[in-house]
Structure formats: structure tokens, C-alpha cells
């Protein structure tokens, strides 16, 4: 129900805090927030707020620092669900329930972790499913079915790699699924003796893993997967997430699941973007019409009605479309997921219907073709304030940013890349000069382009403070500062992950700042991100969140 039609007699709660950073220039800081009907009523001094609005004081956040709830403007629903499987990644990560999973920094650690998981499974026929494997970190060492056979010779084991394009399986799985020396598939490499090594490359080969493959992805669709997503967001102060094109929202059951799970007790809001490259079986006109209908089912917690398109692949995977001089490693150019000729035709139906189109474009050639498409559409069907957004926007040049500005587009920059793959970009994919210009948040802001920044979780872990830290410092694991001149200030970074995201989701009047009438969504922090050393921004402890006025404490670290 709209708050404007209620009489305003609901109880008011005043939450004093150590400091409130509102990200609202009209009142940048305060010492308390007043909440009524799940919305911010006002900010100010606690006693003034009680004197004006009545209500009671809740002191539970009195020593906390409040910011608007963070907006993760590019994430995927599998952020939580993937934790139903055993984590074997190189870097330590925290699961949605607060459990710390130390990184598996050697092949032996991977085997050890899988043995523990094997012991915990009671049913001997249940496959062991794991994720996050990244043998790139131990070059020269073999990791194949034999390591996994050391875990079990009877239980089927399926381990997907961090890039989600490869899997490694054990001999028990190969035998059960009929993968043998006679398997001639291209994505099934063999050893010198003609035996498949256990590596399955790309979905077609992974599919040969049969039931374990299906179970791996099937479980990502459970209700529990969405609840875990909510908990993962809560743990890092994120109160609004996006599911960018991972769901087929033409399926009634998918829509129903989100509406059912995201009730008032759910700790976050979700802006759902329909994956229109994969899921538009009857064409874009029909899909756009369906999205217009679906938009009406939106609630305060779940928003429908926008779409995601994809232009190209990833830079680290060598599948992004890059302009001259191409990849530093000399590999072939990447792949198109939409034909450049068809961009305008694919966008137009959604654009004309007033829907937002957020488009994945990593490489600068992908951005170029995308902007040409938008230029055509904006010329034939001018639309004010469309807020179409370039997602990832990693190699966008200053000239392209100017064109984005002219076309009224937004940039959602993959700031975390500098930390997670910065050294690889410098040394392998594009070289030091282009790597220093990647994810050019400074350039975007200087040109006045609405900016947000993201984690693309689960590609990198969800966490807006980490994203902001990456954009502020631009450091790499090797200790390099990659592109010092593209760094932005803490204030700019925190604006990007709050109001910046809100703007791109067309929710700027509802979330993104602590301002009267907006949803009472806060990131509740233990330290003031404006006060800490910028290099420690990512380490600011998160107590939890407030979502619609309700407090959600982060899981205790286990």
C-alpha cells in the first residue's frame, strides 16, 4: 500500500546512532533516524525527533554507523544458492551463514576439503558437488580426476571451476555416466594413454556429467537458494540486489517463487531483470509486452519489468570483443552474443515500451556496437530519461563515455576487477596501459555520467564496501596501483553504491539515501567508512542491515 494513503497513526521508532551518513546533500549527517511504516520519517537529533513525531527510542543501534542500505546493481540469484555446494576456491570466502571458508591454496587443500564434505554425506549415492576451483593459481601442477579419485573411488564428484565454464570430475562419475576413452567430444581432453583427464570444458561437455551436473544447477533454483542470497546480502550491508538476467521471468513459477519468498521478513529488495537474450522464444515484441504486464506484479520487495541483454563475453576469458590492438596475449577476438547489426532491433521493443535495457558489454568493441544501436533507437524513438545502462563497461574509452553521456546512458562499472584480475589484465589480457584505464569511474564521473559499481556476485563476492574500496584504491594483489588517475573518492564511491545504484534501477525516490519517505533501508556498520583509512574501507565491520525498518543482524563469523 502506498504510504500516502495511510493516516499516519502507526507507531514511530527513533533509532539513535553514532552517526548517520544520509548520502542526501540536504542533510548529510544526523544522529538518529525516525522510522514509521517501514519508511524513514525524518532524520535529526533523537530528542527532537521524539518531540516532533512521538514514538519510542530504540537504542540497539546507538553505537553504530548508519548509511543507506547498499545497492548491488549487478548481481545474480546464484549468489546464495551456490553455497549449497562445497566451496574449493583459492581465496577465503564467507558463506551466507557466516561460516569462514579458508581458501584452498593448494591441490592438497582442495582434496582435504572434499574429503570432509564426502564424510558429511550420508547417502553413498549422492554426488559430491563443489565450486570455485581455480587451478590457474598453481600453474604447472596437474589437477584432474586422479586427485578427485583420492577423495572417493565410489562417490561421483563434480567440481565446477570459478569461471563456471569448466568442471573436473572423478573416475566414479565418468564410469557412471559413460565417459570413456571412446568419448570423442572436443571438450573432453585426454591423457597420453587416451583416458579422459576428468576435465569437462564448456556446457556441452559438462552436460556429459549427467545427473550430478543437473543436480548442481537444479539446486540453484530452490527457495533456500533465494534465502541464502538474502542472508549473503544482509551480511555485507546490501539491502537491494539485482538479478541481472539469470532468471526466465516468462515462467510463471519463477515469478511466483520470488513473490512468495520475498515477503516482509525477507531482508532485501530485488530488482529482477529478465534475461532477454536467452529467454525470448516468441521474439522481443512479445517479450516486451509480457514484461509490461509483469511490471504490474511488482511489490515493495520485488521489482519486475526490465531486461538484460548481452553483447560479448569476458576479458579474462578472452571472449570480450575488443578493438585494436586486440588481446595482449595474441588470442583471437571474443564472441558476439548479439549480432551488431541486430542491436537496435533487439533494444527497440523494450525501449518503446518504456522498459530499461541493461546490457552486458565488457570489451570496447562491444560498447561501440552497443552505442551505435542505442543511437539508432534514440534517433527513431527518442525517449526521455530512459536510463539504459552499460553493464561492466570495463574497457569503455573516454570518447565512448562522451557518447553515452550524449545518449543519456548510465554506467555500471565492474570496479572489483582491479582487485580480482588486475594483475592478469596488466600482464596477460590487455597490457599495463589499457589495464590502467579499465573501469574508468573517474572519467565517467567527470563527464557527469550516472555511475554505479558492482561485484557481479557470485563472480566476485557480494560486498559494496569491497567494491567501493577497489574503486577508491585500485590496488592489485601484487601491490600495484593500477590507474591511479582513475581513482575516485570515498564519498564518490559510497554515492555510487547507494544513490548511483538506486538511480539506475529507477528507484532513486525510494532507496539509495536516508531521506524522508524512502524505505527504511540501512547498512548498519561498526565503524565510519568516511573516517577509516581508505585502504581499510573494505574491512569496516558490518553489523547487519535495516530493511523496511526491521533489523537483520549479520551472521556471526564461524
Amino acid at each position: 500500500m502506498s504510504p500516502d494513503s495511510s493516516s499516519g497513526t502507526s507507531p514511530t521508532t527513533v533509532f539513535p546512532a553514532r552517526i548517520v551518513h544520509t548520502i542526501d546533500p540536504a542533510a548529510p549527517t544526523a544522529s538518529a533516524v525516525a522510522v514509521r511504516d517501514g519508511r524513514f520519517l525524518a532524520v535529526g537529533d533523537p530528542s527532537d525527533l521524539v518531540a516532533t513525531y512521538g514514538g519510542t527510542i530504540d537504542d540497539s543501534l546507538a553505537d553504530k554507523v548508519l548509511l543507506p542500505g547498499f545497492v548491488e546493481a549487478h548481481s545474480h540469484k546464484d549468489t546464495g544458492g551456490i553455497w549449497q555446494h562445497t566451496y574449493v576456491g583459492y581465496e577465503g570466502r564467507i558463506g551466507p551463514e557466516g561460516q569462514w571458508w579458508p581458501g584452498c591454496s593448494t591441490p592438497e587443500r582442495v582434496v582435504e576439503r572434499l574429503r570432509e564434505a564426502d564424510r558429511e554425506l550420508e547417502d553413498p549415492d549422492e554426488p559430491l558437488l563443489a565450486w570455485g576451483l581455480d587451478p590457474i593459481f598453481w600453474p604447472g601442477e596437474r589437477f584432474d580426476r586422479r586427485q578427485l579419485d583420492a577423495v572417493s573411488t565410489t562417490r561421483q564428484i563434480f567440481v565446477i571451476h570459478s569461471n563456471m565454464h569448466l568442471a573436473t570430475v572423478n573416475t566414479a562419475l565418468m564410469e557412471a555416466q559413460g565417459i570413456s576413452p571412446d568419448t570423442m567430444a572436443e571438450g573432453v581432453p585426454k591423457d597420453a594413454a587416451g583416458w579422459p583427464t576428468g576435465e569437462l570444458q564448456e556446457p556441452a561437455a559438462m552436460f556429459l556429467a549427467g545427473k550430478p551436473f543437473r543436480s548442481f544447477f537444479g539446486r540453484l533454483r530452490s527457495d533456500e537458494a533465494l534465502h541464502k542470497f538474502g542472508r549473503a546480502a544482509r551480511n555485507v550491508g546490501v539491502t537491494t540486489v539485482t538479478d541481472l538476467g539469470t532468471s526466465n521471468l516468462l515462467e510463471e513459477s519463477t515469478v511466483r517463487q520470488w513473490l512468495d519468498v520475498a515477503d516482509e521478513a525477507f531482508p532485501m529488495r530485488a530488482a529482477m531483470f529478465h534475461g532477454a537474450v536467452m529467454y525470448a522464444p516468441d521474439g522481443d515484441e512479445a517479450c516486451a509486452a509480457a514484461m509490461v504486464d509483469l511490471k504490474r506484479k511488482s511489490t515493495d520487495r520485488v521489482r519486475f519489468g526490465n531486461v538484460k541483454l548481452l553483447m560479448d563475453g569476458s576479458i579474462q576469458g578472452g571472449t570480450a570483443r575488443v578493438r585494436w590492438p586486440g588481446y595482449l596475449h595474441g588470442g583471437p577476438n571474443g564472441i558476439w552474443l548479439i549480432a551488431p547489426d541486430q542491436v537496435a532491433d533487439r533494444i527497440a521493443p523494450y525501449h518503446r515500451a518504456g522498459l530499461q535495457v541493461h546490457t552486458h558489454a565488457n570489451g570496447d568493441q562491444a560498447v561501440e556496437a552497443l552505442l551505435e544501436g542505442f543511437e539508432k533507437v534514440q534517433t527513431t524513438h527518442p525517449m526521455p530519461d530512459h536510463r539504459h545502462t552499460v553493464q561492466h563497461c570495463q574497457m569503455t574509452s573516454p570518447g565512448q563515455y562522451r557518447k553515452m553521456k550524449a545518449l543519456g546512458m548510465c554506467a555500471n562499472v565492474f570496479a572489483n576487477h582491479t582487485w580480482f584480475w588486475g594483475d592478469q589484465h596488466r600482464d596477460i589480457t590487455v597490457g599495463p596501459d589499457r589495464a590502467a584505464r579499465m573501469n574508468a569511474a573517474r572519467t565517467a564521473l567527470d563527464l557527469g555520467i550516472p555511475l554505479s559499481m558492482h561485484s557481479d556476485s557470485p563472480v566476485t563476492p557480494i560486498g559494496s564496501l569491497h567494491v567501493a574500496w577497489a574503486a577508491v584504491n585500485r590496488v592489485t594483489p601484487s601491490g600495484d596501483v593500477l590507474g591511479a588517475d582513475e581513482r575516485i573518492s570515498v564519498a564518490e564511491a559510497l554515492h555510487a553504491v547507494t544513490m548511483g545504484g538506486a538511480w539506475q534501477l529507477r528507484m532513486e525516490d525510494e532507496i539509495g539515501s536516508i531521506s524522508p519517505r524512502k524505505f527504511a533501508d540501512c547498512a548498519v556498520l561498526e565503524a565510519d567508512p568516511f573516517e577509516v583509512d581508505p585502504m581499510e574501507l573494505r574491512d569496516v565491520p558490518v553489523w547487519g542491515t535495516m530493511s523496511g525498518g526491521a533489523l537483520h543482524q549479520a551472521a556471526a563469523r564461524g
Binding site: 555416466q177 556441452a204 561437455a205 551436473f213 583471437p332 549480432a339 568493441q365
Partner: protein, 311 residues
């Protein structure tokens, strides 16, 4: 898992936007040459089927009176293959359309899924625009890669292109790929090759003599041969290297001397030859059949097939 003997041959058909893929697929559905083909397409809107041929239709599947089926490719290709597997007993082969910017060889990898076997990569080429496409700054490399992975290239729009333009395109193609180049119209049995499975009593293709039919209907040359027994590994290698020009398709189900209890499938699709074991020997005859372009000397084909022999 499906009986390996019942694997459905899976052919992918690629080509850039406007290359004539859809026309090619519509023709396969309309004139399947006695084969029951399941054609998997990206967009149902493009499929043009004579209403009189349509037996039933749902959101995802069209069933035709001639035994063919047309399915829309689901968001999850694994799911699409599952659904094809569910009616595998009613079809002889599968043809999969690749999107205009898709790489046919990537899609062809799915042909190794249980229940299917790879049966060639066909790429359609518009002779009038191909050279502009290849020069395009955005898609030139994509189009070239599509051509490069093809076993068979089918030059389309032969009804509108001038003969000189066709010849020029074909000689240009011969310079950039190894693939065998065909011109539309290509009969289904030539484009896709013979079906290796035994005819069943309810099989519409079983009612007529395949070879005789082909000789009358087209100028393509078909030769088949029953072998005396298992062939030697060395003779397969010789045979592979000696393929005469003009051979479009060949298929053999044979025993090899070093694996006498297994069924080895010999397969030629244009420029590529594959030799793969697909299961235990099933007591049939060791046999091979070849189809070649019009004008290919029968004697050359006979001589070639005779290279397959015991040691």
C-alpha cells in the same frame, strides 16, 4: 543411458544472418527425402510450413505429417536435448540451427551427449554478401571462423545470383576453407547423408529402394558396398587419405581388426572424416555408403570404397 546403437545423428547448420539457413531448414522439413528429421530452431517465427503438412502444434513443438518435427530451442540446450530424447524413437536424425553470430563447432559439441552422435557441420553462405561480411569490422572474424569450421558449405540464393557471381564466390570460398562446397537446392539425403539405422516396419523410408530412388531424383552419385568382414586399421587410414574430390557424405558401420567386437562408425562429411566406436557390434553386415556431387565418376568411388578391406 540410451542404447549406443540408437544414437541420433546430429547435424548443425550455421551461417551468418541472412545466409539462408532458414530457407535450408524449411526445405529439409518440407522435403525430408524419406527421413524423419527433428529440426531445432531458435525462432519459430521463421519456420514456414505448409499448413496441410502440419499434424499438430504446441508452443514448443510442431509435428508434421511427413514424420518430421520442428522444435524451438529452449533457454537451456540440455533441456532441449532431453525433450528430443523423449521422442527419439519417432525420428531418424536431428538438425540444429545455430544463431547468426554463433559458432557452429561449439554447438556441435553437444552432439556428443548421450543419445546423439555428431554428424557434420553445415554452414550456409550468401554468395552475394559473403565477401562484405568477411570484411566487416565487427563480424568479419566471426564469419570467417564459421566458414573455417564447416565440413560442408552450402551456397544459397542460387536462384537470384548471376552464374558468374556464384562461381566467383565459390572459388573465393575454396581459397579460404577446406570445406566441400555445394549449391542449393541440395536434397536432404545428400546434405545430411544416409541414415545408419535399420529401417523399422513403420519407417516410411523403408518402402522404397533408397539407392534407386536417389539415382532417379538427382544427379548425385550414390554407391554402397557390403564388406566381406572386419577391415584393417591400416586400410581405414589409407581410405581416409584417398577420399576422391566430389564426395559429400559417406557412412560406414564396420568392425575393425583391432576391435572386432565393437561397432566402428566411419563418417565423411565434406572435408572431415571421423572414425569412432559407438558400441558393441550388433551382428549386422559391415557396410559403407558414399554420396558424391553430380559428375563424380562412379569408378572412382568404387575404387575408393574398395580400399576398405581386411589385412
Amino acid at each position: 543411458m540410451a542404447d549406443p546403437q540408437d544414437r541420433l545423428p546430429l547435424t548443425v547448420v550455421g551461417g551468418y544472418l541472412g545466409a539462408g539457413k532458414t530457407t535450408l531448414l524449411n526445405r529439409l522439413l518440407a522435403e525430408p527425402d524419406g527421413q524423419r528429421i527433428a529440426v531445432l530452431v531458435n525462432d519459430f517465427g521463421e519456420v514456414d510450413i505448409d499448413g496441410r503438412l502440419l499434424e499438430s502444434a504446441t508452443d514448443d513443438v510442431l509435428i508434421l505429417a511427413n514424420g518430421c518435427v520442428c522444435c524451438s530451442i529452449a533457454d537451456d540446450f540440455a533441456e532441449t536435448l532431453d525433450s528430443v530424447r523423449s521422442f527419439a524413437d519417432r525420428i531418424d536424425r536431428v538438425v540444429v540451427e545455430v544463431s547468426g553470430v554463433g559458432q557452429p563447432d561449439k554447438v556441435a559439441q553437444w552432439a556428443h551427449s548421450p543419445g546423439f552422435s555428431p554428424d557434420g557441420i553445415v554452414v550456409a553462405v550468401d554468395p552475394l554478401s559473403i565477401r562484405d561480411r568477411v570484411a566487416d569490422r565487427y563480424v568479419g572474424d566471426t564469419v570467417l571462423a564459421q566458414l573455417a569450421c564447416a565440413d560442408l558449405l552450402v551456397v544459397t540464393r542460387t536462384d537470384v545470383a548471376e552464374p558468374e557471381a556464384l562461381t566467383a564466390s565459390e572459388s573465393w570460398l575454396a581459397g579460404v576453407t577446406e570445406a566441400t562446397v555445394l549449391r542449393t537446392p541440395v536434397p536432404a539425403r545428400v546434405l545430411l547423408g544416409p541414415v545408419p539405422r535399420k529401417a523399422r516396419p513403420d519407417d516410411p523410408a523403408a518402402d522404397h529402394d533408397h539407392a534407386a530412388h536417389a539415382e532417379q531424383a538427382t544427379d548425385h552419385v550414390t554407391i554402397s558396398r557390403v564388406l566381406a568382414g572386419p577391415v584393417s586399421r591400416a586400410s581405414i587410414d589409407t581410405w581416409t587419405r584417398a577420399r576422391p574430390s566430389g564426395v559429400v557424405r559417406a557412412k560406414g558401420l564396420v568392425r575393425v581388426d583391432d576391435r572386432p567386437d565393437d561397432r566402428t562408425v566411419l563418417q565423411v562429411c565434406g572435408s572431415s572424416t571421423t572414425v569412432a566406436v559407438d558400441g558393441p557390434w550388433d551382428d549386422g553386415e559391415d557396410a559403407v555408403v558414399a554420396i558424391a556431387l553430380p559428375g563424380t565418376p562412379r569408378a572412382a568411388l568404387v575404387k575408393w570404397l574398395n580400399l576398405l578391406k581386411g589385412s
